[in-house]
Symmetry: C2
Subunit: 162 residues, 2 copies
C-alpha cells in the first residue's frame, strides 16, 4: 500500500488519468488534500502502487456497502497505468490485488464506474467477468444545490435522536 | 442515527425497498449480517430512521471518495419511505439530513444511484438539483468471477510492499 511520501506520485497519476478522461479541468485536489484524506486520522480510501523501476500505475479504492448482501464491498475509484507500461498485465495485476483484498475481507462485490466511450477498458472489464449495471444511473448533488438541501434540514422532522 | 435494536426494522425496510425495485430475490442479508456490518467493530455504513408514530422510512449511507476533489463524499445506498407515509416530505427530510451531514463533514459530493424506470424518484432528485452521471456505467464483479480474479493475484507483480 502507498505511504504518505507517495502523495506527489498519486496526485500525478490522478491528473494523468483525468487528462485521459478529458476531465482535467475538474481536478482541484492538492497534495495537502490527499495527505489529509488518505493518510490522516480517518483515511477515506486506500491506494496501491504498481512498480516497475519506479511507479507505473495505481489503484485507489474504498469500502462501499450492500444492503442486499448485508456486507461491505470494495469500490474502485481510480485505476491507471502509464501509457509506456501498458500491455504487460499491470492493470490486471492491480485489479487482481484489489479482488484478493475483497475476498480476504469478506466483501461480496467489487465495483467501479467507466466512461461509456472507453471501449478498451470496457472490453478488459468484460474479460474479467464484470457485469454492467446498465439499468442504474448515478445522480450527484454538489456545490450550491448540495448546500441548499443541507440548509433545508430541520432537526425535528427526519431523524431518530442519537 | 439508528441503534443495534433497530436491525429488524432496517432489514424490513431493505426488503420492502427491494420488493419495490423488483429485486427481492437478490436480498440475502440476515439480521446478523446487518448487526455485524453496521454496528460491529468496523461499521461500514450509517443509518438514519424517519419516525412518525414509529419508523416510516430510512436512509443508509457511507463515505465514498473523490480523487478529483481530494475529499470524501457521501454515497446514499438506500432511501425508502413506506407508501402510507409518502407525500409528506419524509424523503426530502431524509435527503436533507444526509446533505447536512455531508456539508458538516466537509464532503464535496452527495451521490446515489437510481433505477432508470423509477421516473418518480428521478423527478424528485432533479428537483433537488442533482445531476445525472449519464456518461458513466458501473461494472460489478461478484461470485465466481470475483474469486477467479482474486486467485490470479501474484504478490510480486502489482504492489509496493506495505
Amino acid at each position: 500500500m502507498a505511504r504518505p511520501d507517495d502523495v506527489p506520485t498519486i496526485l500525478g497519476f490522478v491528473r494523468e488519468l483525468a487528462e485521459f478522461e478529458r476531465l482535467l479541468d475538474r481536478v482541484c485536489a492538492t497534495e495537502d488534500d490527499l495527505r489529509a484524506s488518505l493518510f490522516g486520522a480517518r483515511p477515506y480510501a486506500e491506494v496501491v502502487l504498481a512498480e516497475s523501476d519506479g511507479p507505473v500505475g495505481f489503484a485507489l479504492f474504498f469500502h462501499n456497502y450492500s444492503t442486499f448482501l448485508g456486507r461491505p464491498g470494495i469500490y474502485l475509484e481510480d485505476i491507471y497505468v502509464r501509457p509506456e507500461a501498458r500491455g504487460r498485465g499491470v492493470g490486471r495485476a492491480l485489479m487482481a490485488y484489489v479482488a484478493r483484498l475483497a475476498v480476504e475481507r469478506g466483501c461480496g462485490r467489487f465495483e467501479w464506474a467507466v466512461l461509456d466511450w472507453n471501449s478498451r477498458a470496457i472490453a478488459f472489464y468484460r474479460s474479467l467477468g464484470a457485469e454492467a449495471m446498465d439499468e442504474w444511473t448515478v445522480y450527484r448533488l454538489t456545490g450550491k444545490p448540495l448546500e441548499r438541501l443541507a440548509d433545508a434540514y430541520v432537526p425535528s422532522t427526519a431523524r431518530r435522536g442519537t
